[in-house]
């Protein structure tokens, strides 16, 4: 064993953790000493774009997030919206773009797994899923492989887990050649008064690890290079996360059973930067410290270092704070489902995040500052320049019928059946409208008439031409798709996919698109209750098309009166309405 936690922290090592010199200085000021290697890993995880939203926070705050039906807005694993009769719909959308480009099947599969966990961590049984996919040109050398892998991965996970996929998007454009987008949405149903949150409460209570064992999955490629081992690395370890829908399905059933026991005080999914983010979030939200004993963490690989355990992105894991007197009952549930259940730490009152391993303290950090003090940037931006108006004389003449036919036959307009037939759209027996129409509709089980409608939309070409109008348009289109099923739109989630925010013109797209989304949502009383930001999406040094995906949820009071997009009877009048 050649592990050391005293690896020298060099500027190169700091840089390879994605921390800028001034960010590193902030760490030094904050803790008054050089961080240990494990601590550096923790900071890099907490302060990266994905966890800290450092480039987008300022603008996200401007979005409307409240409404009479909103029970939980952004800030938890998913948003929660009241649907009456004591029930709530819990939903969120999240991206898995980069992992899907590296390994399309597993990347997409674990994206679906992650969003499903976000939903059932809150106590909701998942009832619907959607996926918004963007690929490069159809004849680009990589596209075929990526499309088949991603679609198989989305299906492979969702079908096995057992949630109907009721909608989504697929688009092709050269601007995604080197950076595809995989945005996964999930929604679940819960009792409005039985929503579980991630805020820890109570001092000295057990912190429990649930689910699958920890491996080295996803432990950063760049950071791996920094020899935490001596000379016993047999091969370059892949960092790909592999999904296990079978474990996730058991985790779902075990969690819902566990929640009924009354044992859960707080619960949090282990997503990006697993143990680190989940433990810090639970503690910081509850104004509590957390102590972890890594020797108790169930591992599936030998000689895992504290650094690796803290940064592992192994899937199908959760962390919870438990009522100690219910521990035996809770453990029995997990044993029944043959899942790991291990007390790995406790809550404390010292507001420190302390991590122990083989008798050493490998991290001791101020828990609130890890999140609160994360850098926040007001990045410079320039207003996007609108494209020059099209000169009609430059538009070639074309036969309208031919043009229509080639449009209908083009990759972006042809039927999506080849995709959604690979997804189980019927499971659970409540699907009233499956993909192919405007919105997917799922009835509310146990209620005689109610149903929920789902749609996901954005037109990235509009967003490129005018991010503000494109943002508005995405919201409006999603809204229209919901009302076209006869639903009253309730709320939305967004997945903001953009290029490098350090470039002022990209930052300008972000700012304008968020403004457009915000204005449209405000005008329509359509609050954003959850969401996700994915930045640095580039292909050949050029940003992807700005792609702020909007997914919305609507309520149908009586599904007997639901509207469909297909003409159903001969002789019916066809009416064109709108502006």
């Amino acid at each position: 064993m050649t592990f050391r936690n005293d690896i020298e922290i060099t500027p190169e090592l700091v840089a390879s953790h994605g921390l800028k010199p001034d960010e590193y200085q902030k760490i030094l000021d904050l803790i008054g000493r050089t961080p240990t290697y494990t601590e550096l890993g923790i900071f890099s995880a907490m302060w990266n774009e994905h966890c800290s939203y450092k480039s987008s926070k300022k603008w996200l705050k401007t979005l409307p997030t409240k409404g009479p039906r909103v029970l939980q807005g952004p800030g938890e694993n998913a948003g929660v919206v009241d649907i009456g009769d004591g029930q709530a719909v819990v939903f969120k959308m999240e991206s898995h773009n980069h992992p899907s480009f590296i390994e399309p099947y597993q990347g997409a599969a674990t994206g679906v797994g992650g969003i499903l966990r976000d939903v059932f961590t809150m106590g909701a049984r998942p009832i619907a899923a959607m996926n918004a996919l963007r690929f490069g040109e159809p004849d680009h050398e990589k596209t075929k492989h990526l499309v088949s892998g991603v679609v198989a991965g989305v299906g492979g996970y969702g079908n096995s887990f057992g949630v109907p996929t009721v909608g989504g998007e697929v688009q092709f454009d050269a601007r995604y050649n080197g950076n595809i987008l995989v945005n996964a949405f999930a929604a679940g149903l819960a009792d409005a008064d039985k929503i579980f949150l991630s805020e820890a409460k109570g001092v000295g209570l057990p912190v429990v690890y649930l689910g699958a064992k920890t491996g080295r999955d996803g432990v950063g490629g760049a950071t791996m290079a920094s020899a935490e081992f001596g000379d016993d690395i047999e091969e370059k370890r892949p960092t790909v996360q592999v999904g296990d829908p079978f474990t996730e399905k058991r985790l779902l059933e075990a969690c819902l059973e566990l929640m009924k026991t009354g044992a859960v005080i707080a619960i949090q999914d282990m997503g990006a930067a697993g143990l680190t983010c989940s433990a810090v979030e639970m503690g910081a939200k509850g104004d509590l410290g957390i102590e972890l004993d890594l020797d108790k963490v169930p591992v599936r690989e030998e000689r895992m270092t504290p650094y690796e355990m803290m940064l592992s992105e192994s899937q199908e894991r959760m962390l919870m704070v438990l009522h100690p007197e219910k521990e035996a009952e809770a453990r029995a549930v997990f044993e029944k489902w043959e899942l790991d259940f291990a007390t790995v730490g406790k809550t404390t009152d010292d507001l420190r995040f302390r991590v122990f391993w083989q008798g050493d303290e490998v991290a001791n950090l101020p828990i609130k500052d890890l999140g609160d003090e994360a850098p926040e940037y007001d990045r410079p931006w320039v207003a996007p320049t609108p494209p020059a108006e099209l000169d009609p004389s430059t538009v070639p003449d074309a036969d309208i019928a031919d043009a229509l036919l080639s449009l209908l036959g083009s990759a972006n307009h042809s039927s999506r059946r080849w995709v959604y037939e690979q997804y189980d759209t019927l499971i659970q027996g409540n699907s009233l409208q499956t993909p192919g129409g405007d919105g997917g509709v799922v009835r509310v089980e146990g209620h005689p008439t109610k149903a929920l409608s789902f749609a996901s939309d954005v037109n990235p070409r509009y967003c490129e031409a005018d991010p503000y109008e494109g943002g508005k348009q995405a919201v409006a289109e999603c809204w229209r798709n919901l009302i076209a099923t006869g639903a009253e739109p309730l709320a939305a989630t967004d997945n903001l996919n953009f290029g490098n925010p350090e470039r002022p013109e990209i930052m300008g797209q972000i700012v304008h698109a968020i403004k457009g989304i915000g204005d449209a949502c405000t005008a329509l009383d359509f609050p954003i209750v959850s969401g996700n930001v994915s930045l640095y999406n580039e292909t050949n040094g050029r940003g992807i098309l700005p792609t702020p995906t909007i997914a919305g949820v609507g309520l149908i009071d009586d599904h007997a009166k639901m509207a469909r997009s297909k003409f159903s009877r001969e002789g019916d009048a066809i009416i064109l309405i709108g502006a």
């Binding site: 079908n159 887990f161 829908p245 009233l432 005689p448």
Partner: protein, 269 residues
């Protein structure tokens, strides 16, 4: 009890056992569940003697809730739900193994579930004549356990397929198919990755000779490449049925039809 056939209103059907041809002006599909209070069976209790059934759940199965709903709505009483590790299987007339991905479908579909102790109990019951229905993963489990011959291989397309197919009733003289007419074609959804039925030539010949093929995909809707378009078969005795399609997902108007209902209705005494 008067003899009834499930069919669409006005459809002509022939009952297999007595070859009578009749016109049915009113069939199950005329009953509107939307008007009935929720959770109530679609059939009136006095119409049927209650069917005692059990749904066996292995970890990773995921259509058990759909199956329980179908048995409850059509059978009039909720089935017993039995966890695979339970040692006692209640005294029932029908044992159902629903669809899903037991043990993740790892190794081979249904292989791991098929070797669990619960399957020994099911085998004993089947030998005593208790009816056993395996749908989708349930079918795969029954073949892996040797209760049904053959194997379900990967779909010819190698892709998961979820769509509606048409099934032809190849043998209406089984407890599972008796509410349909011989040769009747009905709609049914499929959702599977490994539904490509395969058996060696002798086995297939004997299945055909003994009328053990109960449902076939119509040739133009075979979703998986299965041999002889086989969608569902019984054992030689006729009390164990395995089928890939999901009749439980097409049992009420909200599903867009109730063609699948006959399978459950047929199992009522």
């Amino acid at each position: 009890m008067p003899f009834r056939v499930l069919c669409l209103p006005g459809q002509r059907v022939r009952h297999a056992t007595n070859s009578r041809t009749q016109q049915f002006p009113l069939a199950f599909s005329a009953i509107n569940p939307e008007k009935a209070p929720i959770q109530q069976p679609l059939l009136l209790k006095r119409d049927v003697s209650v069917m005692k059934s059990a749904v066996v759940v292995f970890p990773g199965l995921n259509r058990e809730r759909d199956m329980i709903a179908a048995l409850t709505k059509i059978g009039g009483t909720p089935p017993a739900v039995v966890w695979h590790k339970d040692t006692e299987l209640p005294d029932v007339d029908l044992i159902v193994i629903p669809g899903g991905f037991s043990y993740g479908d790892y190794l081979r579909c249904g292989a791991i579930a098929a070797r669990s102790p619960m399957m020994d109990t099911i085998r004993e019951r089947a030998e005593k004549g208790v009816k056993v229905l395996g749908v989708c993963n349930g079918f795969q489990i029954l073949t892996e356990a040797g209760l049904l011959p053959g194997a379900l291989m990967r779909n010819a397309s190698l892709k998961f397929v979820c769509r509606e197919v048409k099934l032809e009733v190849a043998n209406a003289d089984t407890p599972f198919s008796r509410r349909y007419a011989q040769g009747q074609v009905f709609r049914c959804p499929v959702a599977h990755h490994d539904g490509n039925y395969f058996a060696d030539a002798d086995t297939v010949a004997s299945l055909e000779d003994n009328d053990q093929v109960v449902f076939r995909y119509t040739a133009d809707t075979n979703p998986n490449g299965s041999i002889n378009n086989i969608a569902g078969i019984t054992n030689a005795r006729g009390n164990v049925l395995g089928m890939m399609p999901h009749p439980e997902n097409l049992i009420e108007p909200a599903h867009g039809g109730d063609d699948g209902k006959g399978i459950f209705a047929g199992l009522l005494n």
